[in-house]
């Protein structure tokens, strides 16, 4: 009889779930990184208004 171990992170696809959660958290952090205040310093080539 085939044994199924619920603690095996590959068989339970636990790794994929952890990755998905990490993705959602990091996506929020990425947006916060883009929109954080004080991200511009004047005087360099290519800097916008």
């Amino acid at each position: 009889m085939e044994t199924y171990y619920y603690v095996n992170i590959f068989e339970t696809k636990g790794l994929e779930y952890l990755l998905l959660m990490a993705f959602l958290v990091l996506l929020v952090l990425l947006f916060r990184y883009f929109n954080a205040p004080g991200s511009t310093k004047p005087g360099r080539k290519g800097w916008g208004p």
């Binding site: 590959f10 790794l15 994929e16 990755l19 993705f23 990091l26 996506l27 990425l30 990184y33 883009f34 954080a36 991200s39 511009t40 310093k41 360099r44 080539k45 290519g46 800097w47 916008g48």
Partner: protein, 401 residues
């Protein structure tokens, strides 16, 4: 009967206008012309040989490697890099972000020409090119095959992109009413085009699903269609950034001053979209990496090659794009875009050529003739692009405004 003479006068005026526009404009002896003219002439000679004596006379293709550089680079990579058109039209016409409206025409033109030339280059690689009509007329063709979908999508998408660009042609010809009518159907063509793009970008990836034993396991995944689609988003946007930069330097006389002034802001906005797309793509890659337990295969040359592609040409350019957006540094965004484009080129070539039948004792590599013909296709596309931009109101204001 005053109408007939007036009609013939108008026809004569039209023909004279077209003939005058066909004449090349100086300067003729530019560095670009001096490099590309010999390439195009040599490429045409090679093509004569190819159609007279067959593929074997000029390519290194064989029964073991029937798909080579022309398919791998021109078709599969070229179509990914042309993805900017559906991204920009979606942002402008569907999301209604007017900030990018000034680059819609030039991006659609780039996308249209890329499909015409790169997908058109498919005919060079077909042993019997006259059979290219078969999927269209349904002659001896598998209706359930991915190639059938890709063939129809290419044809319909080219038609949709031509419709999207057609108001500019009507403007150039001075046809005010025709332009108004064509502009009215643009939104429909855009939605049709975006739908087709999402399907055939992933469809090109789906072509490789049936070649599982032939593709190195580091590159093969059931998610190839999704990876192709997500990577086409940032590949297309990075291509728009690079092409826009080159166009603004080389063809600045044909650009509206307002458009010129807003160029850096547009690049920063596009880089933000591109870095988010890279982020999503990277997680899909990570998912396939973990799902397939691929870390066990990183120890040899192919592991190093994979790490170079995924780390050096996806993760690093993604970080550069995000850093450039955050610090509003256009130079870093441009460098990141170039690296991201190289990453997508390497990914497509790995799948279709380099890591394809990696176990074969004698591996395929492109002949010099294949490379020259590819350079010829790119050169002719740039010639046509330059001809259109320097004559039609692609980046200038319409004469009817």
């Amino acid at each position: 009967m005053p109408e007939k003479p007036q009609l013939s006068r108008e026809a004569i005026r039209f023909v004279r206008f077209i003939v005058s526009e066909m004449k090349p404009k100086p300067p003729y002896f530019t560095a670009f012309n001096l490099i590309t003219v010999p390439i195009v002439l040599l490429g045409m000679g090679i093509l004569v040989l190819r159609f007279a004596k067959g593929l074997g006379a000029v390519t290194n293709l064989s029964q073991d490697f029937p798909w080579g550089f022309w398919i791998g680079f021109d078709v599969i990579t070229g179509v990914a890099l042309a993805g900017g058109a559906y991204c920009i039209t979606f942002i402008v016409y569907v999301m209604r972000v007017e900030k990018y409206h000034s680059i819609v025409n030039v991006t659609v033109l780039n996308g249209f020409l890329a499909y015409v030339f790169y997908a058109g280059a498919l005919t060079l690689d077909l042993g019997r090119p006259w059979n290219i009509i078969n999927p269209i007329i349904g002659n001896s063709f598998g209706f359930n095959s991915v190639l059938f979908l890709v063939a129809w999508h290419f044809m319909l998408y080219m038609a949709a992109e031509f419709l999207e660009f057609s108001p500019v042609i009507a403007d150039w010809l001075g046809w005010r009413r025709v332009k108004k009518w064509l502009s009215a159907i643009t939104l429909g063509a855009v939605i049709f085009g975006i739908t087709l793009s999402t399907l055939h970008q992933s469809g090109l990836g789906a072509l490789f699903l049936m070649a599982k034993p032939k593709i190195h396991p580091l590159w093969y995944s059931e998610f190839i269609p999704i990876l192709f689609f997500t990577s086409s988003i940032f590949a297309g946007l990075c291509m728009v950034i690079v092409e826009g930069t080159l166009t603004h330097r080389v063809l600045k006389d044909h650009i509206d001053p307002d458009h010129h002034a807003s160029h850096d802001e547009i690049i920063i906005g596009l880089a933000k979209f591109a870095s988010i797309a890279v982020f999503v793509y990277y997680f899909f890659k990570l998912l396939t990496f973990l799902h397939g337990k691929q870390w066990t295969m990183l120890g040899d040359f192919w592991g190093f090659w994979y790490a170079l592609e995924v780390g050096g040409l996806v993760l690093i350019p993604g970080a550069m794009l995000a850093f450039g957006v955050r610090h509003r540094n256009v130079e870093i965004i441009r460098m990141g875009s170039v690296l991201a484009i190289l990453g997508v080129i390497l990914n497509r070539l790995n799948l279709s050529v380099i890591a394809f039948k990696w176990y074969a004792p004698v591996h395929y590599y492109p002949s010099w003739q294949e490379i020259v013909v590819t350079l010829m296709v790119i050169s002719v596309e740039i010639w046509v692009f330059r001809w259109v931009v320097s004559r039609m109101p692609v980046m200038r204001k319409s004469r009817f405004q």
